[in-house]
Amino acid sequence: MKILVCISHVPDTTSKINFTEGDSKFDTNGVQYVINPNDEFGLTRAMWFKEKQGASVDVVNVGGAETEPTLRKALAIGADNAIRVNTPATDGFSVAKQLAKVVKDGGYDLVIAGRESIDYNGGMVPGMLASMIDANFVANCINLEVDGTNAKAVREIDGGKETVSTSLPLVIAGQKGLVEESDLRIPNMRGIMMARKKPLKVVEPTDVTAETKAVSFEKPAPKGAVKLVDADNLDELVNLLHNEAKVI
């Protein structure tokens, strides 16, 4: 089985979010980048397929050279090869188009992406990609087993989960549950050394026009100070929630 894991290069979850150039661009100043957490769960599940079922695991990112440390980290965790499509990730559609070409050229059976990236939260790349390459697709995937060309997956739904059967070629949008938080691997020194020698191929993008563009960014309006209610006067809290906030 040939697995491709899509890796987004995203600001660490503790990052302060600011914008520059007249609120038209994300301010990367002082921001640490990481593997998108949803992708990391998927990568770790892919490592399981590699170790238990002899799968090969490649990782891919659509982005500029600045994303290579993130791909190297994925190699250090255990991926075999990395591919970087040399173009900025402009919108979900154009990223999906670039990935579709990588999947076709590489003949992958299973594509593991994250449910959404924690920066732009679009949540559309995996589904678009599946549609473009005519593969089966499972969103919000919290468990995946593959046997030959058959697959069994569990999808989180609102208020529960459902088990589905499907087949390769398959794209999943993964999240926590695919593996546990405690299963995530911190690259060790040997992994990091080996990752330096593993192939990281840079491919040129295909010609795609984005379908959406961010015109400007803004931050939520600053909120007023908290109203403190005395722990011995909870009638006041009930009163405020009923008469002032009108939520009960």
Binding site: G127, S131, R155, K176, E211, S216, F217
Partner: protein, 320 residues
């Protein structure tokens, strides 16, 4: 060229988000000088969507669609959009709608924007505001394609009754081979899901252990609320992952969010930012959550929560 909106139902009953997306579609239709057509699958009372602004409902009745399938549902909506010549298609932010929307967008060659929080600021060019960076910011985003798919963030627009009536037409689209078969569904029917909840009661590590969740569940029951938890609580296995709220968990957009024993890490606050009113109960007055909350109680959850349950029960009895 009406505005098409997909209205979800569960076991025949239209969901609240269905009424919200119709209300939202009506606002866009008014801006663009057109009408709203809804597409509903195996829904009863489809004509009731008229009250929220739909002029017409395409009603699909097909047992093959009893279980949700993203590819099949996307095909239904795509065919409806093409029949109606719709330039804008509106869907909700439910797990199912977010599953089908990317497939629909590719099928319609439409640009798709998810997590939209307001009516378009302009319809030509078509610009909508969406939340990004897990609610830490917003991006005003232009969709440049001829046909557009808009995913509305739940509970961001609200319900708007316009008192109209809708005509209901039978609609019989062709269904594709789906490739994904639902084997079983495991869903608690007696509990409110976080996505659908108007009130969410959430517990953190301050509750000291899973055995102390009884009062959280009781508080949730009194309020008709869903229960949720912070990341450490789900990582420790005290509560299921499905309750984890925050940047790497679920977003919450409820009317009221009550955080108990949660300090308010930046990742948690991001996930609950679009909740309208936030209440924090914590022993530590320096907890970052107090900066993000509307109302706060400094105190021991083990004393405050049982008292609050009593007060709320009395309040409910009085206002019943």
């Amino acid at each position: 060229m009406s505005i098409l909106v997909y209205t979800e139902s569960e076991k025949g009953k239209l969901k609240k988000t269905a009424l919200e997306v119709v209300s939202y579609a009506k606002a866009i239709a008014d801006q663009m000088g057109t009408t709203v057509t809804a597409v509903a699958v195996n829904a009863d009372n489809a004509e009731s969507l008229g009250n929220y602004g739909a002029a017409k409902v395409l009603s699909v009745k097909n047992d093959a669609l009893n279980k949700f399938n993203a590819k099949a549902y996307a095909a239904v909506i795509e065919q409806a959009a093409k029949q109606e010549g719709a330039k804008v298609v509106v869907v909700s932010s439910s797990a199912d709608s977010k599953y089908l929307a990317p497939l629909l967008a590719v099928g319609l060659e439409a640009g798709y924007v998810s997590n939209v929080v307001e009516a378009p600021s302009s319809t030509s060019p078509f610009v909508v505001k969406r939340s990004v960076f897990t609610n830490k910011a917003f991006a005003n985003t232009e969709i440049t394609t001829d046909v557009k798919v808009v995913g509305l963030s739940n509970n961001s627009f609200g319900l708007v009754e316009s008192g109209g009536t809708a005509s209901v037409e039978d609609f019989s689209p062709s269904l594709p081979d789906s490739g994904v078969t639902v084997e079983s569904v495991d869903k608690a029917t007696d509990k409110v899901s976080i996505a659908d909840a108007e009130i969410v009661v959430s517990g953190g590590r301050g509750l000291k252990g899973p055995e102390n969740w009884g009062m959280i569940e009781e508080l949730a029951e009194v309020l008709g609320a869903a229960t949720a938890c912070s990341k450490p609580v789900s990582d420790l296995g005290w509560r299921p992952h499905s309750e984890h709220v925050g940047q790497t968990g679920k977003p919450v957009a409820s009317n009221l969010y009550i955080a108990i024993g949660i300090s308010g890490a930046i990742q948690h606050l991001a996930g609950i930012n679009s909740s309208k009113v936030k209440v924090v109960i914590n022993t530590d007055p320096e907890a970052p959550f107090f900066k993000a909350a509307d109302y706060g109680v400094v105190g021991d959850a083990f004393e405050v929560v049982p008292k609050l349950i009593e007060k709320l029960k009395a309040f409910k009895a009085q206002n019943a």
